[in-house]
């Protein structure tokens, strides 16, 4: 079925209706979450008690808004810190990996490429526990052998960063590698002919070309880190990132405060996505 082949009216209408229904299915939970952020009630459910901004700006009990709730603000800060570290690390290693697999031919390359892809097919929770196990063995070994207590190897932010970095690097490599593959190598050769050294050629010709992909990789990594749950769950210590903090609250029962935070999250990530699309268009 393609537009150039005539179809009965009924079939096309039914098909379009199906697609519309699909998009309603996609949008429904998000719309509901957003709408109840404004419900003037203790529960994010019907009946609708009237419109309020209190779940964002309220500062008195029982309606403490998202901007006045200390624990939520701290969790957002933690998440931003983790996401920033993870994206920076993944972007750098992803860039290096992209060059490694696109520019060099060496023995065992195809095997290593498969290994590079592996984190995509390892369940996040297994990645989490394996890093947890390995780091505590290392920490115990250091303690038994040298009486060193390495706090960074115990569950906490550094482990969360390592855990997320372990699989987000693969994504960054794929994003940057895809653009590097399209790069016209003669441009670099031209720079070499004009007397530039190899590194200068890469810095002045190849890297600017890769910039949109690098920003794209950074943003994707940031979002993936920000919303990661499974790996983080296994590695988290006392400083919980936002998704974990929200999960703990949700288990105890929800108030529209969570809707307000969710709505802010949606706005934040749409903004980031738009920034990324804008950069992609320019590149």
């Amino acid at each position: 079925m393609i537009p150039s082949i005539p179809q009965s009216r009924f079939v096309t209408t039914a098909y379009t209706a199906y697609v519309v229904l699909f998009f309603i299915f996609l949008a429904l939970p998000l719309i509901v979450v957003a709408a109840f952020a404004f419900n003037d009630s203790q529960f994010p459910s019907l009946p609708w008690e009237g419109f309020t901004w209190n779940w964002f700006f309220g500062s008195e009990r029982p309606m403490i808004g998202a901007f006045h709730e200390r624990s939520i603000l701290r969790a957002i800060g933690t998440s931003v810190f983790v996401a920033f570290c993870v994206s920076a690390l993944s972007m750098v290693v992803g860039l290096s990996n992209a060059f490694l697999f696109n520019r060099y031919k060496f023995r065992g390359q195809s095997i290593l490429y498969v290994f590079m892809l592996l984190p995509l097919v390892i369940p996040g929770i297994v990645l989490g526990i394996s890093i947890l196990v390995a780091s505590s063995r290392l920490a115990n070994g250091l303690w038994d052998g040298f009486q060193w207590d390495v706090e960074a190897l115990r569950p906490g932010l550094w482990l969360v960063i390592l855990g997320q970095f372990s699989f987000i690097t693969t994504i960054a490599t794929l994003v940057i590698g895809a653009r590097l593959q399209k790069f016209d190598k003669t441009l670099e050769e031209a720079a070499l002919n004009l007397g530039a050294g190899r590194l200068t050629a890469i810095r002045t010709v190849t890297l600017p070309y890769l910039a949109p992909a690098m920003i794209g990789a950074f943003v994707v990594a940031f979002l993936m880190s920000f919303e990661n749950f499974n790996t983080t769950l296994m590695l988290v210590g006392s400083d919980a990132p936002l998704t974990i903090a929200m999960f703990d609250r949700l288990k105890e029962g929800s108030t529209p405060l969570l809707n307000a935070v969710s709505l802010l999250l949606m706005l934040g990530s749409s903004l980031l996505a738009l920034v990324m699309i804008a950069f992609q268009k320019k590149g």
Partner: protein, 285 residues
């Protein structure tokens, strides 16, 4: 190889190998080793298959394992069936601006965390939720209807959460199918069904495989959806891993569970690649 090129290769290999060995390979070897030991006293361990033996002899563990596998496969098939027509519509029926707009619309829900999406379904499905209220006001139900905390709710959550990862690879492969080929199929006397079976599906196969692999992995490893939408009685294998590690602090058994989950996912992914003649590099890279 020039000396300079060799130096470059080494410089680029170093971060890659460090990352791969320290964060992927060694942790998994450690995980395997921990799963193969048994506590015999305070701080004393012995190599044994005891943890795996526990898994195979305790029906609850086995049942949960199989249930997780079967429901994940079912969720993958469901996602494929629901997503394929939509992907086809976006790739082949929609044109120009509408096409890119629809594509973006597909992505939007996935820019927010899985937690938010699951929370949305909780608001919709629970006893005091939107759908329950809607049914009552239309007169289809006389009292509050609880739609949360059952397997159907888990399924809805899984399919919803996975949709993007099925639709995007499908759109990418279907876009590369030229209209002429489909037209030729019709010209040669095919009907809608045979064109779909002989031309469209074989062409979309790489997308179907990579989408299915990712979706299956996500379902298998999902923790949030079964916990939040399935309630206390939901049995999901990741919940067992979590409770062994965090609640009971029995890392040995938890590691064995983790390894079993890894084996299950690898076997099914490998089988899927084998069955369709695809390779990991082609479908993921």
């Amino acid at each position: 190889m020039h000396r300079e090129a060799k130096l470059g290769l080494i410089l680029l290999l170093t971060p890659f190998l460090l990352w791969l060995s320290l964060l992927i390979v060694i942790p998994h070897i450690d995980l395997l080793l921990v799963s193969l030991r048994e506590r015999v006293g305070v701080g004393q361990y012995e190599i044994s298959l005891g943890n795996y033996f526990t898994f195979f002899t305790e029906p609850l563990y086995m049942v949960t394992f199989l249930r997780t596998a079967v429901m994940s496969i079912f969720a993958t098939i469901l996602t494929l069936l629901i997503g394929f027509p939509v992907a086809y519509y976006i790739a082949k029926m929609a044109k120009g601006r509408a096409q890119s707009a629809l594509f973006l619309l597909c992505l939007v829900p996935f820019w927010v965390s899985e937690l938010v999406r699951t929370f949305g379904w909780m608001i919709l499905l629970r006893e005091t939720g939107i759908i329950s209220n809607l049914l009552q006001s239309v007169g289809l139900a006389s009292g509050p209807v609880e739609m949360l905390y059952n397997d159907a709710a888990i399924m809805v959550g899984l399919v919803y959460t996975s949709m993007l990862f099925m639709v995007v690879p499908l759109i990418t492969t279907l876009e590369s199918l030229s209209d002429e080929v489909v037209e030729a199929g019709y010209d040669l006397g095919g009907n809608g069904f045979s064109v779909l079976r002989e031309i469209i599906i074989p062409h979309a196969m790489p997308g179907i495989v990579s989408g299915s692999i990712v979706v299956f992995m996500l379902c298998l490893g999902n923790y949030l959806t079964p916990t939040m939408l399935g309630g206390k009685e939901s049995l999901w294998f990741t919940e067992l891993i979590y409770s062994q590690f965090i609640v009971r602090f029995n890392w040995e058994l938890g590691a064995a569970f983790g390894f079993l989950l890894l084996i299950l996912s690898s076997v099914i992914v490998w089988g899927m690649l084998r069955l369709t003649g695809q390779s990991l590099e082609k479908t993921m890279g």
